[in-house]
Symmetry: C2
Subunit: 426 residues, 2 copies
């Protein structure tokens, strides 16, 4: 098969006609598939169903300290849930607070606290004329949405396979004290699936910032969400930062959303004692405590960190074949034509796909009009603006392998059609 870029105008027109006919056939099938979000499949959720039996009316609901988990009390999480989850972030239990059902709301609340009360004695960000955040791109739309909600100016930072462009990060934060933070998904990043190198983590840990209240929002959403036998392990940034006396620079977040049940899991924040003390002051005004029964339910079911890891093996067995099905189809359909590029993640929930420049919106629209909903083009960039209009986030976990093959076949066809259209424009 000939690469599209080598095709003559006549050949492109012929291909366009062929692709258009195939597209019409897809439309006639009246598909209805949603690949827009990183949702676990029902089979993955089935894995956690026995957790519902871990606490029954016949069980004792006291924790290791003798506390009745059914009643009020304990702001920062019961001790055994800290023991269970601390290894996920690699932190010590003292550096951890276990919260409610999602890490997104801890991130939001942490940002909110910086706006309303400032960071460790700094001016509340709401009182500043300008607040800027660095945003490695492509990235997670809900991080950007928090910034948008607070009117934060977002600065795109190119993400490489070893992490954000650290030369650029270091230069910007050293010279501009209105830059108050950066969003990071250090392991199996959303959507690229990239993991930060040891050097990147060390450079973040020792970052010198002009703003004293600069914080790294370290969203370790996929810390044990491996897809291959090569289990990537990103160094614990809090430890690295402690080594250089810079431990206040980072807030770490994680949750069991994609381990147990999304929306019914437990979430956590790890940080220096100074940061935690400050955040806990606000937490103590906001709540008497988080859901301790659900914490206990997680402990009784998973038992220990080994239990968590074994559980993730079961997730992997379900979703790795889906990723492979997508990757196989992409290679089969697009590599011969020389169009598109994509990542082959070793973990996480997404495949990041780049169309030829200027084609992403068109591809998403074409897919949608044939019944397959993808994450909106541009969603992986601040303010929804992908300057090259090329990145699309593929979320393979929710559909069945069969549905996935159909959806990705359509997707490849739409990429081809959009690419041909684009070449014909020139």
């Amino acid at each position: 098969m000939k690469q599209l870029s080598s095709c003559s105008r006549e050949e492109l027109l012929a291909l366009k006609a062929e692709y258009s006919q195939a597209y019409a056939d897809f439309q006639a099938r009246e598909l209805k598939l949603d690949m827009s979000r990183g949702k676990p499949a029902p089979e993955q959720l089935d894995l956690t169903m026995p957790m519902l039996d871990a606490l029954t009316s016949r069980d004792c609901l006291t924790d290791a300290t003798g506390l009745d988990c059914r009643n009020y009390g304990v702001l920062d999480g019961i001790s055994e849930v800290k023991t269970l989850l601390a290894p996920m972030l690699g932190v010590s239990e003292e550096d951890l607070v276990i919260c409610g059902n999602s890490s997104l709301n801890i991130m939001y609340d942490t940002m909110t606290n910086a706006f309303t009360h400032g960071v460790l004695g700094g001016t509340p960000w709401s009182k500043l004329d300008k607040v800027k955040f660095l945003c490695p791109v492509p990235g997670y739309d809900r991080h950007f949405a928090i910034c948008e909600h607070y009117g934060i100016e977002m600065i795109n930072i190119p993400l490489t396979e070893s992490g954000p462009d650290m030369d650029l990060v270091e230069r910007l934060v050293a010279e501009d004290d209105s830059i108050k933070g950066i969003w990071c998904v250090p392991q199996y990043s959303n959507p690229d699936g990239f993991s930060y190198s040891d050097e990147t983590v060390r450079r973040f840990a020792s970052l010198k910032t002009k703003a004293k209240d600069f914080r790294i929002f370290w969203d370790n959403a996929y810390g044990i969400h491996h897809l291959t036998d090569e289990e990537v392990r990103v160094p614990n940034i809090l430890d690295e930062a402690k080594k250089v006396g810079n431990e206040d620079i980072v807030y770490m977040f994680a949750s069991t959303s994609k381990i147990s049940f999304p929306g019914s899991g437990v979430a956590m924040i790890a940080a220096s004692q100074a940061n935690l003390d400050s955040l806990k002051k606000t937490m103590a005004v906001r709540t008497i405590g988080y859901d301790k029964i659900n914490m206990l339910r997680h402990v009784r079911f998973f038992k220990n960190f080994d239990g968590l890891k074994k559980h993730m093996e079961l997730h992997k067995a379900i979703i790795a074949p889906k990723f492979n099905a997508v990757l196989d189809l992409l290679a089969q359909e697009l590599t011969p034509l020389g169009i598109g590029s994509w990542t082959a993640p070793k973990g996480g929930y997404f495949i990041s796909f780049n169309t030829p420049d200027g084609c992403a919106k068109r591809v998403v629209t074409l897919c949608q009009e044939a019944g397959v909903v993808l994450t909106g083009a541009g969603a992986t960039f601040p303010n929804g603006i992908d300057p090259d209009d090329r990145n699309i986030r593929i979320a393979p976990t929710y559909p069945s392998v069969e549905e996935l093959k159909t959806a990705v076949s359509l997707f490849c066809l739409c990429v081809k059609l959009a690419a041909v259209e684009k070449l014909l424009e020139n």
Copy 2:
């Protein structure tokens, strides 16, 4: 027995010696009792244990619309939990959002949103020089703590048996646009146990405020928490406000914290569509959704509003005798001496006790030094300042009846001792 106020100095000195000896005897018993918070007793929590069996691994976790409650989705609560809980506030399901594990954090978030984003297009309160709140007193310390956290100036409003002094409320809000809200516990108020009259509710519903972004924070924490057969029913303020075209003035809050499990229940906010639309915009940035499995667990266990009410009868059977034990002891020990006054609540979680002026702190200290922890004196007032130093919140629910009798005997003794000391000062 002679009233203390009629005693001679010699008689008072004799009583002081007698009470001091009795107090020393109490101290020798090395009591360790905590009556500081409104916590349900273990026997009350036992009532809800079967809820843990309502969802097992063999159950289907889809809601009435076919939604898989185990996965992401639905911001404002599954439909059947709205059906279950709407009657608690008397609102329609459309006016309701079901949230996470506590109403305190919804109140906090609602206040926070006013500070960061303003109320329905108004200036964010963080941009204002001064924000004031009206605080009916005595009241709930956690409400006041939210105000303190935001630097809000609190204005004491006397609470009467029919609700806050409405003449004063109406006058203040009409003339001062920096007054942005009021905290209300309309039914079985904390700590007095007073319930607002129909007239009070109507006057609140039609309140004319100089500030367009004034809001009533209507914390209906004890809406079905009756202690007697006379089940007080405060009118639904949202309905009343709709009748006079003033429906944006109120946010209503409630939860199942003292119905199912504190910290592991579900909470809710009801408001006008305009208010909810605005709050949901922020919620959608903050979270993908609340814990739907726990919502479903509540629905499957309680089934319907009748189920909730029957469950509250079981709570009443456990705690009403405790309230009665306290009231009996207070009457027996203090009425003959003519010292102290207290409420006899028809519901809720507290008895409000007034010592002779200037004695509350002394009584709390005396109790503490003999091993009984009470809510701090002053806690029921903004900034912890009870101008008359007389109010003490008694929380009878947690201890057993026996423990309670011991604790209240000590309490009465401490009141007597403090009263005698005070009389001797003069």
